[in-house]
Symmetry: C2
Subunit: 299 residues, 2 copies
């Protein structure tokens, strides 16, 4: 979805005393109880293809993308609500969606608490709203400061080969890091590393400079680059999206300690530094603008 369009809609939503964090972050935070809430709708032909993807994988993904949003808030998931529009004559899909969803819900101790099941003449739509709570402070997009390091979990690019379905949401990693380290800001990488890094900087009122040589590219990015020869592994890492890794703004001393400690099963890598000048940049000493690439279909 075009970003300007989403912004225009968002501007019409009045502020409310019910909201500690309103629209625009990975999830909203309600007052006064601190419920953290996110919502993602997936539709056939855009986020998956029922012609080629199994309903179980689609169901799993629908829950996983919401879990990834809560990870970006350093929130513990509690309960999910599932609304589906099932194509008439294919209502058995509902069972298969659950086949993919239930094991992931069990893994992260999420109650499937309700929802709405509909049958219609259109293609499959799966919408999940996920509610959680933060054991500590919510991790926002807006807390990065110039000088902070940009750290990422895992590797990037080529998620279309499978990771966009099979990724493990970084809930445990986010909770561990928020509890044991100093994090200033965070976002999950859904729309592309460069786009989500730029968002994190913009929401924090600063810029970010990526050290492109240090960006961890995935083996899938390398494989896709070799196969289609249109984009390099680095270009894929920067723009493919749906990696569902964490991007974190961490103050320098904490960042250095975290990188040295490597406390997670997934590798943590420093790929850049937040700077005062707004925008997305590349380089370590002399900076050049870095074009933003990535999907803009999601709010």
């Amino acid at each position: 979805m075009e970003i300007e369009f989403i912004r225009a809609l968002r501007k019409r939503l009045p502020e409310s005393p019910h909201l500690a964090v309103g629209p625009g972050d990975d999830a909203a935070v309600l007052q006064p109880d601190g419920s953290v809430v996110t919502c993602d709708l997936l539709c056939d032909g855009t986020h998956f293809s029922l012609a080629t993807d199994s309903p179980a994988r689609i169901g799993r993904k629908a829950l996983a993308v919401n879990l990834s949003d809560l990870a970006a808030m350093a929130a513990q998931p509690i309960a999910a609500f599932l609304a589906v529009a099932l194509p008439r004559k294919k209502t058995a899909i509902a069972e298969q969606l659950l086949d993919g969803m239930l094991p992931l819900a069990e893994q992260f101790d999420v109650a499937l608490a309700g929802g709405d099941t509909n049958v219609w003449d259109g293609p499959l739509v799966v919408s999940i709203t996920l509610i959680g709570r933060c054991p500590g402070k919510p991790l926002l997009r807006s807390g990065a400061k110039p000088g902070d390091h940009l750290l990422v979990t895992g590797s990037f690019g080529g998620s279309r080969l499978g990771k966009h379905f099979d990724f493990i949401p970084r809930i445990e990693e986010a909770l561990y890091l928020q509890n044991h380290h100093t994090l200033h800001a965070g976002i999950d990488c859904s729309d592309g590393l460069s786009l989500d890094a730029a968002r994190l900087a913009e929401e924090s009122g600063c810029g970010v400079a990526l050290d492109l040589a240090s960006v961890p590219t995935s083996t899938a990015a390398t494989r896709m680059a070799a196969e289609d020869n249109t984009r390099s592994p680095l270009e894929r890492a920067l723009g493919d999206g749906e990696d569902f890794e964490l991007l974190l703004a961490v103050p320098p001393i904490a960042a250095t300690a975290l990188i040295a400690a490597q406390p997670l099963a997934a590798r943590v890598t420093k790929i850049g530094t937040f700077i005062e000048t707004p925008g997305l940049w590349q380089g370590t000493d002399e900076l050049c603008p870095l074009p933003v690439t990535g999907f803009e279909h999601q709010a």
Copy 2:
């Protein structure tokens, strides 16, 4: 949606300590903070027709049906999350949905707290998840006891003439009654008076006998009955659905006092009595089975 199908799906959802009230009531109640959550998805061709209904009315309805579910729980709404799939080339619909939604949100002090905006090649889908809290005890479907009176707000039937879009969700009425009277159980009438009365009885492990002469039929039901000549106003009242009135199980003394006091702007009417024998019945002395009529498209 066929009720047996929904039940089969529901059986697969594991119990969870996160849920004080799980799937099957008008909304779920989370542990330990008591958040009350409901979710309704509306799709073009089933719940509305974009060819004839204005997007503003559709947007209002999408929020209103969720508010009606919270009314049925005697919950105060707090925050709504809106997920939409917009038909490509008709993205301006998003603004118009908000035109209808925002005044209702303001009227009931609901924050529009976030969501997900998507564009696709399918028809319009609007899904809202609404979160609230109960000032008192949640009003469940399962608390009716034999001997309780079945009271209803307002009148029934013919909502297709306009009420299914323009109804005022009975939030204030439900909160007032739950605070000032003794209510044993409640449900909102979305799928038809007879069907929802039967559900209320079934969830409470009893039956209900309607006194058909006392069912308040709406002027719209009378008008539609006169126009199409296929069903009487009473038949319409029992089966049309989307009245979004409250059905309440109230112990006899409290019910008599409530009917005498008429504390609401909407009239409260006694239309039946809960009985030990399961099922839906008609009559006051000698009981005959009453066929259940109504939509079964909603969970």
